[in-house]
């Protein structure tokens, strides 16, 4: 290799010498503006006499600039929404998990469980319950747990409403709103009684509807009275909003990782 033999700061800087290697190691931080004034000066004095280090500097500068221009993924609207909702009044943790997250392996989706109120009419907002209070309502506790299980194991692969509603004694009506796409149905048991689960996609969020017998809802402590008289029940648990209603002879639960006001718009 050519011997530069250039005098620099009293030292002979050769291409193979330790001084050159020291300066060469400073080229990258020099390109990044991370050197002290003294070190920068040393590199600046070295560069005019060393084409090799000049090329090295160009490589660092060009790569750094090119990487800075690289496109990078951004947050989805659903994620942003969940983060924005973080810290809202809120779930008492009762399972050791994060109060703001659904610890499900499923894609970041929200489950929406809707409970419809019988007879329609004016909906009266119920006081928002915390997850601790909801945990004391067997139906809500079981619905949330079933929802999480379905999310973590992936929902049943198909939606077959006739199959899952055969032999149930209460009406099951799928939600019908623009943007809702039913993709899964299944049978389950909530609070010891038969229930039908329906999962929808809605703007990148999963909406889960449980249909149950109206009497089951009425019998639930803290829930029955609330939903009686054209009211709906509203709560939240670990980042999920929950709404419960009675409607058309059956009860429906709705759970979602959405602000309660958005849930209400879907069903009310």
């Amino acid at each position: 290799m050519r011997n530069h033999g250039r005098q620099q700061a009293g030292h002979l800087v050769t291409a193979e010498g330790p001084e050159h290697e020291r300066l060469r190691a400073l080229v990258a931080p020099f390109a990044d503006g991370e050197l002290s004034a003294e070190e920068s000066r040393a590199v600046e004095e070295h560069l005019p006499g060393c084409a090799r280090c000049r090329r090295e500097l160009t490589i660092h500068q060009d790569l750094s600039a090119a990487l800075a221009r690289e496109p990078t993924p951004g947050a989805s609207a659903a994620l942003r929404q969940r983060i924005e909702w973080m810290g809202e009044p809120r779930p008492v943790r009762n399972d050791g998990g994060s109060p703001f997250l659904l610890r499900w392996a499923a894609p970041a989706l929200a489950a929406l469980v809707l409970l419809a109120v019988a007879g329609g009419g004016v909906m009266v907002a119920a006081r928002v319950r915390t997850s601790r209070q909801m945990a004391e309502v067997p139906l809500l506790h079981d619905a949330l747990a079933d929802c999480r299980r379905a999310m973590s194991r992936n929902f049943p692969k198909k939606a077959d409403l006739p199959a899952v509603t055969a032999n149930v004694t209460f009406p099951v009506r799928a939600l019908d709103r623009p943007g809702l796409e039913l993709f899964s149905t299944w049978k389950t048991t909530l609070a010891g009684s038969p229930a039908v689960g329906l999962a929808y996609r809605f703007r990148g969020v999963v909406v889960v509807q449980y249909a149950v017998a109206a009497d089951l809802v009425r019998q639930q402590p803290g829930l029955g009275k609330t939903v009686a008289g054209a009211s709906f029940y509203e709560g939240s648990s670990q980042g999920q909003a929950v709404i419960a209603l009675l409607q058309g002879g059956s009860g429906t639960l709705l759970i979602a990782e959405l602000p309660p006001r958005e849930l209400r718009r879907l069903i009310l």
């Binding site: 190691a25 080229v27 990258a28 931080p29 990044d32 991370e34 084409a51 090799r52 000049r54 090329r55 090295e56 160009t58 490589i59 660092h60 060009d62 790569l63 750094s64 090119a66 990487l67 800075a68 690289e70 496109p71 990078t72 993924p73 951004g74 947050a75 989805s76 994620l79 942003r80 969940r82 983060i83 924005e84 973080m86 810290g87 809202e88 009044p89 994060s98 109060p99 703001f100 997250l101 894609p107 970041a108």
Partner: protein
């Protein structure tokens, strides 16, 4: 509940502006939904620890540190034997570039690369080097901040960035030599870092 509102507002104002950058960084360790899961967990931990943050001017590095912990906990990289032959090949290619007469050895190569390919190529160099380069060149962190995020001395940051870029340059040269004048995306061999 009312007392929590100022804290929540402060948390949102401090952390939300960094959401996209964190997702971009998280994509180092996972794709799509997995990366978003990492970020969501990061925010949950950050919320819990928000009261411990003293320097509100250093929120992004703080979040990066949490994200890195989350991702490394969940993305257990199995240590594999480094493909030393491949690294040697990249080092030789880089040496060839700096020894050449071309004053701008990378100009033409970078002009032919597809958008996104360069960042993808980082996956083909050792992970510790790629991480340092990404944190500086893509995420814009200073050396001192990278040292805090990764818990290494600044000198190590310096050497990792230097060596990482050299290997990346070598990779571009190797690909160019294999397929001259092509515009294919860089797809180096994957190399699991330490």
């Amino acid at each position: 509940m009312k007392a929590a509102e100022p804290r929540r507002a402060s948390f949102q104002a401090s952390t939300l502006p960094h959401l996209n950058r964190l997702v971009a960084l998280a994509s180092r360790w996972g794709n799509g939904d997995e990366a978003e899961d990492f970020v969501q967990e990061t925010y949950a931990r950050a919320w819990t620890a928000f009261h411990q943050l003293r320097d509100t001017g250093a929120v992004f590095p703080w979040l990066c540190q949490i994200l890195r912990t989350v991702a490394l906990e969940k993305h257990r990289t199995v240590a594999r034997r480094r493909d030393l032959l491949f690294i040697t090949e990249l080092e030789a290619a880089h040496e060839e570039m700096v020894a050449s007469d071309d004053p701008s050895p990378l100009d033409q190569l970078l002009a032919r690369i597809e958008a996104g390919s360069l960042r993808e190529a980082l996956r083909s160099i050792p992970g510790d080097l790629a991480e340092a380069v990404e944190l500086h060149d893509v995420q814009g962190l200073k050396y001192r901040e990278i040292a805090e995020v990764v818990s290494i001395p600044i000198g190590t940051v310096m050497s990792r960035i230097s060596r990482g870029r050299k290997l990346l340059a070598g990779l571009l040269k190797v690909r160019e030599d294999q397929e001259p004048g092509s515009q294919v995306a860089i797809q180096g061999r994957r190399s699991q870092g330490e």
